[in-house]
Point group: C2
Chain length 216, copies 2
Amino acid sequence: MQTTQEAGASEPGAGERRRRELLEAADRVVLRDGPKASMNAIAAEAGITKPILYRHFGDKAGLYQALAVRHTDALLDSLRAALDAPAERRSRVESTLDTYLAAIEARPQVYRFLMHPAEDSQSSERGFDVGLHSAPLLRRLGEELAQVVGERVDLGPGGEQLARIWGHGIVGMMHAAGDWWLGERPCARADLVAGLTDLLWGRLATAGNREDGPGF
Amino acid sequence: MQTTQEAGASEPGAGERRRRELLEAADRVVLRDGPKASMNAIAAEAGITKPILYRHFGDKAGLYQALAVRHTDALLDSLRAALDAPAERRSRVESTLDTYLAAIEARPQVYRFLMHPAEDSQSSERGFDVGLHSAPLLRRLGEELAQVVGERVDLGPGGEQLARIWGHGIVGMMHAAGDWWLGERPCARADLVAGLTDLLWGRLATAGNREDGPGF
DNA sequence: TGTTGATGTTACCGGCAGTAACCCGCGGGG
DNA sequence: CCCCGCGGGTTACTGCCGGTAACATCAACA
């Protein structure tokens, strides 16, 4: 076995490499079978059997979380790049939205997996800790955006909290609209981006009522 | 053969009543056990056994959908009321947001169930029909809001499509922010409502940059 | 050589969704 | 009066999944 080329207790990154291989196999299966990929299928794809997966990731939620972290990191890098590009604010928002939509458009299976992960863990708690149930991806995106907004935009007193509200709100808007758009494809990506940006730019407040209808 | 409207056993609508009883039992179980409620548990709560549930609802997704429709209808009624109240536009938006948040605050278990229902069905299709995976509740809310906006607000040419984009976007914003808020409770409900409304009213566009930081 | 520890396997458990096959009371026709 | 069909109900099963215990293999080291 070509391994252990250097003496001592196994080379430093062997475990890490193995882990990455497993994650890539899991990725392939999830990409092929959707979120209902079974541990057996993932293990088979990786050329091993279930207990090894469990030794590496604890349980299914652990594997899913590891997968999610990978993809979320990648997506966050893209989004940060768009958010940091030198341009005026509206252009940044547009290109960030477009980056997100392009990502989910390119790999809808991955996206779907990220949005509906494990759901359970134990969490048999009372009504407490109702949180953290949904996709952690959305939370991370929301917090990240909140941080960017909070440290760059002057929102006056209480701005930190307002930034968090906006961060999660904007991310949710992006997500839901993207989800719907990905399913129905009612328009080009650019149209969706423009529409959402208009919404964020307050066009709902300034638009007039229609002559017909009860008004709004 | 219809029926035997006399004689105690079956009267017109008996099936409907039975169905409602079953749904109420299912509701109780879901409220108690969360989204992982099993068909066995639901059947036991209803005082019957599994196959009857399957005769009534086909499969678990069918039961879940029936439950979801009930709650979604109820929630939609509340929201429509808030949306139709006579007041200026901003007040309507605020009271609609507040109604939604009050609902999820009052019954977080029901809310969680509605947001993460079945996930599977068969749907082993290719990349097609990627849609309708997530909670149908969000889709319904989005379409409903799109309709209200589209028929009341003058959005110029292409307004129908823009209204749909906004409908789904606003609903997603409301949902994600509510989800986060419900989990962390970082502020009072009214603060969240105000923050989101500010966002929709374009405050992101008009806010200035902070002196420190790279600007936005 | 024998021990130890990592690595991998088989074989199993409990629980779930979903189904097949049986069961029982009741009304109607001979 | 008896039997027959039929709708509502149950028991008992299949197949799959997540998760685990116990066993097997092999390298390195004393």
